[in-house]
Amino acid sequence: MSERMHEQQLRVPAGSTVADLSKAPLPTESTLRKRMSLPLQVIRFFVFNARIMRMVLKGHSQDH
C-alpha cells in the first residue's frame, strides 16, 4: 500500500460513504512533467482551440 493511499484511508471515517478510488490510475512522473512542459503545452493549446473552432463550425449553425 502506498503512503498516499494509507494516509487517505486514515482520514476517511469508519462507515463512510466515500467512493473507493484506489483503482483509479495515477499519472506517472512522465505524464506530470508533460502536463507542465511549455513546448508541449503550447502545442496542446493550439490543438484545443482548433478543436473548439471545428465544433463551432460543425454545430453552431444547423440551418438547412
Partner: protein, 485 residues
C-alpha cells in the same frame, strides 16, 4: 417596425440583445429587462470564490454597453407575460417591476412584437433547509457577491488550518437534482490548490459531495474518450484526478438539510448519513424564475407556457418516456415557445425535454440525478439563433424559417482550472460533441474526434483566454461579433 424585448442579460439574453442591435434595421427597437445592473462572466466566479480574482474583474455595468448599442435597458424583473395583450390592447406585453434603486418597486407594462425569454435560473436554495449564504450555513459561487463571501470563508478556514486545527471542507451539490457539477468540480480543485499553496493541505480533509452516481458524469451521462488506441471514460479520467489530488468523493447523494457544521444527505441505497464540515460550498438546484402568464381576459395561462419547473416550454418533445427511448430529436431546435411564434426561450430559461444523465431514484423514491447543464457555449448560440430568427422575420416577413441549434448537434467545452499561474497553472479541459448524446449517430453517443479530456497547463491558458475574450465580446468592443459564442 417592431419592438423586441429580451428578458435577462446573462450569457444568452445579452448575446441575443447584442446580435439584435447588429441585425435589425433602424427604426426597430431592442429593450433588455434585467434585475441586475451588471453583467457577470460566471465561469470566473470560481476564481473570485478562492480569492484569486476580485469581483470587479468578472463584472461590468450593462447600461453603458446598451447605450452604445442603441438598446433600451430597463433594470427590472419581469413578473408576467401577456402574450395576447390585455383588455386595452391586442399587442402582447410583459409586466416588469423595477429593481433600480431610483425606481424600486415601480411597475410598467412593456409592449412587444417579439420576446426572448432568457431569464436564467432561480437559485432555489430554499429547496434544501439550511442551504446557502442567505440565512443558511453554506457558501456559494453562483453570483459574484456569493463568490466574494465564499473566498472570505475559505480564507478563515485556511487561517484555522495554519493555526494547527484540522478542518473538513465540503464542496458539491446541495440537492439531488442540482446541475452544474462541472462548476463544483472546478471549485473543489481550486480549493485544493489554495490549500497546497498555503502549505496546509495535510491538515485538511477535502470532500466532493455530488448527486452524480459516477464521477465524471457532469450531468451529461459521462463521456467516452479515445486515448492511445483505447476507449476510456470520463469516470476513470476524473477518478484519476481525485485520487492524485487526494479529494474524497461521495457519490449519488441528495442533501436533505444543512445544520451548522453538519450536512445531512441520503444516498442512492436509501440510507441517511451526516457529514461534519468546517467549510461548505454547495450549489443550489435551479428552477425557472417565477413568471406568470395571462390571457387577454386575465385568465391564468401559466401552465400553457411553462413547465412545472418554471422553465418555458419550447419546440421539444415533452412526452414522458423511459431512458432507453430518449432520443436526440427530443431536444429543441428553434427554442420557439409552444403556441406562440413570437416568443423564444433560450439558455437556462427553456424547459429541457428530460435529463441527459440516466435518471435515478433512491430506495426511498428520492430523485438523485443531475439536471441537464446549459453551459455558456450552447446558451450563447441559442441567444444568437433566436436573434437571427427574429431579425429574419422582421426583415422578410413572418414566414421566414427559424434558425436552428439543437444541443444534440452542438458541442461544448468545459474548462475546469485546477491551479493558477501562467507557468504553474493547470486545468482539466473537456470538449464534447454533441452535448446531448446521440446513440443513433455515434456508438458512444458522441463524436470521438471532438470528445476529449486532458489535463495540463494549456487548459489554464484556455480558461484565461476565454475569460478575457468573452468579457471583450460582452462589452461589444470592436470586432465583438467575430468572436464565436
Amino acid at each position: 417596425m417592431a419592438d423586441v424585448v429580451v428578458l435577462g442579460a446573462g450569457v444568452s439574453g445579452h448575446t441575443a440583445a447584442l446580435h439584435l442591435s447588429r441585425l435589425l434595421p433602424p427604426g426597430n427597437t431592442v429593450t433588455v429587462v434585467s434585475p441586475n445592473s451588471q453583467w457577470n462572466w460566471i465561469p470566473s466566479n470560481i476564481w473570485v470564490g478562492v480569492g484569486k480574482m476580485a469581483k470587479k474583474q468578472v463584472v461590468f455595468p450593462l447600461a453603458p454597453v446598451y447605450r452604445k448599442r442603441g438598446i433600451r435597458f430597463v433594470q427590472a424583473k419581469a413578473t408576467a407575460i401577456r402574450p395576447r395583450g390585455d383588455e386595452t390592447s391586442e399587442r402582447p406585453a410583459v409586466d416588469v417591476e423595477y429593481t433600480a434603486p431610483d425606481k424600486a418597486r415601480q411597475t410598467e407594462r412593456i409592449r412587444y412584437d417579439y420576446l426572448v425569454n432568457a431569464t436564467g435560473p432561480q437559485l432555489r436554495f430554499h429547496a434544501t433547509p439550511g442551504l446557502g449564504p442567505d440565512g443558511g450555513h453554506t457558501v456559494s459561487v453562483c453570483t459574484a457577491d456569493h463568490a466574494v463571501e465564499a473566498a472570505a470563508a475559505l480564507r478563515d478556514t485556511i487561517e484555522r488550518l495554519k493555526a494547527g486545527q484540522s478542518q473538513t471542507l465540503v464542496v458539491g451539490m446541495g440537492h439531488g437534482t442540482c446541475t452544474c457539477e462541472g462548476a463544483a468540480f472546478e471549485y473543489v480543485f481550486n480549493v485544493d490548490h489554495e490549500l497546497r499553496e498555503a502549505g496546509v493541505r495535510d491538515r485538511a480533509r477535502l470532500v466532493f459531495l455530488t448527486n452524480e452516481a459516477e464521477l465524471g458524469d457532469f450531468g451529461v451521462d459521462g463521456m467516452v474518450f479515445e486515448e492511445r488506441g483505447f476507449q476510456t471514460t470520463s469516470e476513470l479520467w476524473a477518478g484519476s484526478l481525485f485520487r492524485e489530488r487526494d479529494v474524497q468523493a461521495i457519490l449519488g447523494a441528495h442533501v436533505s438539510r444543512v445544520e451548522p457544521g453538519v450536512v445531512h444527505y441520503e444516498t442512492l441505497d436509501g440510507a441517511s448519513h451526516t457529514l461534519d464540515f468546517d467549510f461548505a460550498m454547495l450549489l443550489p438546484p435551479f428552477g425557472g424564475v417565477q413568471l406568470k402568464a395571462f390571457d387577454r381576459d386575465g385568465a391564468d395561462i401559466t401552465e400553457h407556457l411553462f413547465a412545472p419547473s418554471g422553465f418555458m416550454k419550447v419546440d421539444a418533445d415533452y412526452t414522458p418516456k423511459p431512458y432507453d427511448e430518449w432520443r436526440a430529436e427530443d431536444w429543441p431546435k428553434t427554442y420557439q415557445a409552444v403556441g406562440y411564434d413570437n416568443i423564444w426561450a433560450v439558455g437556462i430559461a427553456f424547459a429541457p425535454p428530460h435529463q441527459i444523465s440516466r435518471p435515478r431514484k433512491s430506495a426511498n423514491g428520492t430523485v438523485i440525478a443531475p439536471s441537464p447543464p446549459r453551459t455558456g457555449m450552447p446558451s450563447g448560440v441559442m441567444g444568437k439563433v433566436a436573434a437571427m430568427s427574429i431579425a429574419d422575420r422582421i426583415k422578410h416577413g413572418t414566414s421566414a424559417p427559424n434558425h436552428e441549434a439543437s444541443m444534440a448537434a452542438m458541442g461544448a467545452a468545459c474548462v475546469a482550472s485546477v491551479g493558477e499561474g501562467l507557468r504553474t497553472g493547470s486545468a482539466a479541459a473537456m470538449t464534447m460533441m454533441p452535448v446531448v448524446p446521440d446513440y443513433q449517430r455515434f456508438p458512444t453517443g458522441r463524436d470521438l474526434a471532438d470528445t476529449r479530456g486532458e489535463v495540463g497547463l494549456a487548459g489554464h491558458w484556455v480558461k484565461l483566454m476565454l475569460h478575457y475574450l468573452f468579457l471583450y465580446k460582452a462589452k461589444a468592443l470592436p470586432g465583438w461579433q467575430l468572436i464565436p459564442e
